[in-house]
Subunit: 412 residues, 2 copies
């Protein structure tokens, strides 16, 4: 007998019929002999409806009260699922964040979990009950309701799984797992049977939005086996996200190809090459609350100045440009240029650490298609390139073939 935590998102509980379906799936897990804790989001659309209401009260609502209002969406779904489970003869009990006692700090709207009381849940599990816990919410040490921010239900599920040492934390979504790349671009894209936490983090932050980054970090930190599955079909087992030591021996080199269309590139050319220059450029961008993704600095041809390039979200491009205009004057840089028609494409895989030649295979594949690489950035398990937007599909397909991602470890 295992302890399984299952998390269902807003689409999975978006109607009375769908809640019935979730109940069926929960019951099958229970009948297989497992203890089950279910974590639910609000019905799809409900959180937005509640946010709308608060916005009608104030353009800038009190965050304590905002959390009190929007946390009700999950309280409704957990009660409804518990009703169905009881109706079908399976003892069940709903738990709000404060009933579990998911203790958080007092950062309303984006609280962090500090501890989870196990006593009540253990007692109910021992009595054979199915527990249905509200995702996304907690309580601070002063008894105020807090919420964990968008996507916080994933974090709730992982935190519960970590606290109760669950055997698996299953995240049910509208996709059936993590793919080698977007199947809309590469029809041969293949679902991965397993992926490491580190790879998943790179995939997620690069735009493959299957799981909240925070919940993956959390699962990695506490070594909680995390599985992504579809809540609408049961034909496969999704993708299991595991720590590296639990990966198979014969690790493939590359797990997947991520991409991000939301970036824009800014370049300051001919900046005097002296200490503190990077801070003067990036500090002013950071102060404006603009997040910077890739940063590349190269010594320029004359070896007295340097060229500085970085990427930001496209929404921040104009703001970043006007800040750099001022920085350019101040530093006496030669030229400022920018480009919004770019994309970032990344190879991700823990296997590349021990395999030479990944970069050269990548650049050869791109070169064969006549695609010019404008920026390169690497980490231990990732190589990212910036290319012209128009080459996105071509590049992803070429890389998918070059690294033979259509052949692999899927379980069906």
């Amino acid at each position: 007998m295992a302890l399984i935590v299952q998390k269902y998102g807003g689409t999975s509980v978006g109607s009375p019929e769908r809640i019935q379906n979730v109940a069926e799936r929960v019951i099958r897990t229970k009948q297989a002999g497992h203890d089950v804790i279910v974590v639910l989001s609000a019905m799809s659309g409900e959180t937005n409806r509640l946010i709308e209401l608060t916005k009608k009260m104030s353009a800038n609502p009190s965050e304590r009260e905002y959390d009190a209002v929007i946390s009700t969406g999950e309280q409704v779904t957990i009660g409804l699922l518990a009703i169905v489970l009881e109706e079908k003869g399976f003892p069940a009990k709903s738990y709000t964040g404060w009933q579990v006692r998911i203790l958080t700090d007092d950062s309303f709207t984006k609280a962090r979990i500090s501890s989870i009381d196990q006593d009540n849940m253990r007692k109910d599990l021992n009595e054979g009950k199915i527990l249905v816990v509200a995702g996304f919410q907690g309580i601070d040490s002063n008894g105020n309701i807090t919420t964990l921010g968008r996507g916080g239900s994933d974090t709730t599920a992982v935190a519960l799984a970590a606290a109760l040492k669950a055997d698996e934390c299953q995240i049910y979504t509208d996709v059936d797992g993590v793919y080698t790349t977007d199947p809309r671009i590469v029809p041969e894209a293949r679902r991965l049977e397993t992926i490491t936490f580190e790879e998943m983090l790179e995939m997620a932050s690069l735009g493959s939005k299957v799981l909240q980054i925070r919940s993956v970090e959390f699962a990695g930190k506490y070594n909680v086996p995390l599985r992504v599955l579809s809540s609408f079909e049961e034909k496969n087992k999704g993708t299991l996200i595991v720590s590296e030591e639990n990966q198979k021996m014969e690790q493939v080199v590359i797990s997947g190809i991520a991409f991000n269309r939301d970036e824009a590139k800014l370049t300051l050319l001919g900046v005097p090459d002296r200490p503190g220059v990077a801070y003067e450029i990036l500090g002013s961008i950071g102060e404006a609350n603009i997040e910077i993704d890739m940063i590349v600095q190269n010594v320029s041809h004359d070896e007295k100045t340097t060229d500085f390039t970085f990427t930001v979200h496209r929404n921040d491009y104009n703001k970043a440009m006007s800040i750099l205009e001022a920085v350019k004057e101040k530093l006496g840089a030669e030229k400022l240029s920018g480009d919004t028609k770019i994309v970032k494409v990344s190879l991700v895989g823990v296997g590349m650490r021990s395999h030479a030649g990944v970069a050269s295979t990548m650049f050869k594949a791109l070169s064969n298609e006549g695609i010019n690489v404008k920026m390169i950035s690497t980490s231990e398990i990732k190589i990212s390139v910036v290319i012209d937007e128009k080459y996105l599909e071509l590049a992803v397909r070429a890389l998918h073939t070059a690294f033979e991602l259509d052949k692999g470890n899927t379980d069906n």
Copy 2:
């Protein structure tokens, strides 16, 4: 400086605009120098929407989970009002039932309040905050969410006023007070400036549905001055419900005329006059969960048998009749008859205790109009008669005039 508890119902908080209006009124009370605790219902329609959802899950939903779901409606409105108050520069804080700690028994869907923690509320009041408390809900000693049953928000308001020894508990409704009778029948009907708890109870149970009976009982028990006012107009002070000792010296004899169109009458004639007969008749009705209102028993002409008449809700008439058919056979009674075209009209007033002649004035007024009285029942502060339905308006008008209810103690 006084402590005022104000309760606003679902219609008063039925839209964002109306919540803004409630905020204005609360702020005026605060600006007058008072401490204010606001108790809110859910937005009108919201509780029904949530009940519908539970019914889609199960025809007979788990009561614990039902309470968890429907208690969310009030949590939304208290958060929204607190947001508006804060937006307008008035420190405010919402409290759910469990945050106050309104401790109840564990009778889900109809819980009774056993105690109220004052510490947190006192502290916040001392800091000048306006408190906004969710009506209708509490928490049992095991940490489960409970609800107090329909209309429970009135009870919450009175219980808070009693626990914190508030100077007044104001119930805002869609009527502007308690009237001598229904103004739709008697245009001269007059709003009462004051009424006693006992009279209010008789008026309410007789069909003048302004306040929940339970909250009036509670206010009487703890001697909480209770005021009914309109949430839509401010031109008068509504009706203050007080204990008898606080009533004015020159008490009028009759406070008002209540009536009830929902009753039906059943008569069993020629029942053997022996011990236990009343139980055999009424017991079988009670076992079928039919509530009995008036009961009249008279010795019949031959003095060996007795006639037995009682009234029930019209919805229960057919069920009660078929039960009595069986009882009639069993007891060997002579005849069973019934009438659904009746109404009950009642005079209510604590003053009738010390004034002889109320009954004779009543019967004379009815007789003058040719109205036949079919049944009479009296209590210390009430005389009720059952008459033909068609005479309802005539009887109420005649009595209103006979007892000079159009002249009196209103404050404007």
